[in-house]
């Protein structure tokens, strides 16, 4: 843990070298998520509600997804660089060091610029929490907290699978993006908006809906099943098969030799 703190500082320092760019990237990330925010604003200025959700309720949902993603990205984005680590042989160096590979990858690259997204989602979350008309009892606050934390764990699981696949393909696989980046972009609407089949897929195969749609229904009082509030922690079980897959890939790893 102490070592992680050290990597944390080194990463921060190195990214602070290009100060203008660093802050512009933060601003960029801020604006990037603003563009999705604007699209919601524009859409809802035409249509008062979508599938029974109002603007403020959708904003709450979007803010939670954004928060979960920015946490996961800030700490686990090293997995995104993993394909290049494999193909340029850097991973071989990782293997000979006396620390776990996952730890090293997580420490390898932290993107503080993602803080821009975080700040933006924080503003949005606070606004939506006030505006969506939910009475925030302690249990609902707890569920909201769980949604964010468990969400970022589930997303980290996806990053793990993404990296694990690289053991077999060397190249990064773009179709994972539909689950990672797509999960974020399309997470702006509660997943039921995409139809039953999509919702089922996101419930049983890749459990993104477990931290987004179901607990949201509970928060908004659209469903009184308390079970829905407990789904996010159940969803985090998803990380186990992801981790297993990663281990499986790791055992099969052959260096590219470069």
């Amino acid at each position: 843990m102490k070592l992680y703190g050290k990597f944390f500082l080194i990463n921060l320092q190195s990214q602070m070298q290009y100060k203008v760019s660093f802050f512009l990237t933060i601003a960029g990330q801020f604006l990037a998520s603003i563009s999705t925010f604007l699209s919601l604003l524009f859409i809802f200025s035409r249509f008062p509600e979508i599938k029974g959700f109002t603007l403020n309720q959708v904003l709450l949902c979007f803010a939670v997804v954004q928060m979960a993603f920015s946490f996961a990205e800030c700490f686990a984005r090293g997995f995104d660089r993993f394909p290049s680590m494999i193909s340029n042989g850097e991973f071989d160096r990782v293997m000979v060091r006396p620390r776990s590979a996952i730890f090293q990858i997580m420490a390898y690259k932290m993107e503080f610029a993602r803080l821009g997204r975080f700040f933006q989602s924080l503003c949005m979350l606070i606004y939506a929490m006030i505006a969506c008309g939910v009475f925030w009892s302690l249990s609902k606050l707890a569920v909201l907290f769980l949604m964010i934390i468990c969400g970022s764990i589930i997303i980290t699981g996806l990053f793990l699978v993404y990296a694990g696949l690289t053991f077999f393909t060397v190249e990064g696989l773009e179709f994972m993006n539909i689950l990672t980046d797509g999960g974020r972009e399309f997470g702006r609407y509660p997943f039921s908006v995409y139809g039953k089949e999509v919702l089922k897929f996101l419930t049983y195969v890749v459990p993104l809906a477990l931290y987004q749609y179901y607990p949201l229904m509970y928060l908004l009082g659209k469903s009184d099943k308390i079970l829905y509030g407990f789904l996010p922690p159940i969803g985090t079980l998803f990380i186990l098969p992801c981790f297993a897959f990663w281990r499986f890939g790791l055992h099969r790893y052959k260096s590219t030799g470069s």
Partner: protein, 267 residues
């Protein structure tokens, strides 16, 4: 011109190598397109009257957007060029007897065209055979089809010329991802890639349609689906030419200024 053509060719064949990546990309784009359409279908089913364009046009718009993503994505940049600037390899580029602006312009354009060609055919064909309202329909008539092709080429030019401005700005900031993110996202949104321009509130839409960003994917795609036709189409094409010319002239100017002051970091 011949030189630029060969720059184009070299790039083109380099990109064509990555066929597996293209396949994975196509799968992604299908999923992406479907999710977009599903979301719009839900919006549409609740409020048919308020929908600013027929649903079938919207489906076509989204499939074209996916098919030609590589032509128009503003957040795509040429790593080689940015690296050349920040690593100092720019000095080699400068010693070549070739106009740098032209070279980079065609290099970027070739990158985009090659990527798009690899991907567009399967997406277009499959999207064409999808059931009912989800499918990609053909343009209504030859005029729209012709207008689409002209506007597609001009739109690519505008996107590349816009990208060139950002490459040039890299001379001043060295690390450019930040700048890139800000401008790319702004351009992306205003060009109708997140939601098509007809979905903008009318006041903002009127302004947005005059900006150079509307000359990117917005115009060709809306001409294809028949959302813009007749005299509006002609006005749009003229506006596109205007923006392409101004961006190229402006880009050349600031690049010349940047090059007179360029400091190559050793190494």
């Amino acid at each position: 011109m011949k030189v630029y053509l060969s720059v184009f060719k070299i790039r083109f064949s380099a990109v064509i190598q990555y066929r597996a990546a293209a396949l994975a990309g196509i799968a992604t784009q299908f999923a992406w397109g479907f999710l977009e359409i599903f979301a719009f279908r839900t919006i549409y089913s609740g409020n048919e009257s308020g929908f600013p364009m027929p649903f079938s046009q919207l489906s076509s718009y989204i499939w074209l957007q996916q098919a030609f993503l590589a032509l128009f994505m503003t957040w795509f940049y040429d790593r080689d060029i940015l690296d050349a600037i920040s690593s100092g390899n720019i000095s080699y580029e400068l010693s070549r007897p070739l106009d740098l602006y032209g070279r980079w312009f065609f290099q970027t354009a070739a990158n985009r065209v090659a990527r798009a060609l690899l991907r567009c055919a399967p997406i277009l064909v499959v999207a064409f055979f999808l059931p009912g309202p989800f499918r990609l329909s053909l343009p209504e008539n030859g005029v729209q089809a012709l207008g689409f092709l002209v506007s597609l080429a001009l739109g690519l030019g505008v996107v590349v010329a816009f990208g060139m401005l950002i490459y040039t700005l890299t001379f001043y900031t060295l690390s450019s991802t930040g700048l890139w993110a800000v401008f790319a996202m702004l351009a992306d949104f205003m060009s109708g890639s997140v939601i098509p321009l007809p979905f903008f509130p009318s006041g903002i839409r009127k302004i947005a349609e005059l900006l150079p960003f509307a000359s990117m994917q917005n115009l060709p795609l809306r001409i294809y689906v028949g959302n813009i036709a007749g005299s509006d189409m002609l006005i749009g094409l003229v506006l596109q030419c205007f923006w392409l010319l101004s961006l190229v002239i402006f880009g050349r100017l600031i690049m010349r200024r940047a090059l007179t002051k360029v400091t190559v970091h050793g190494g």
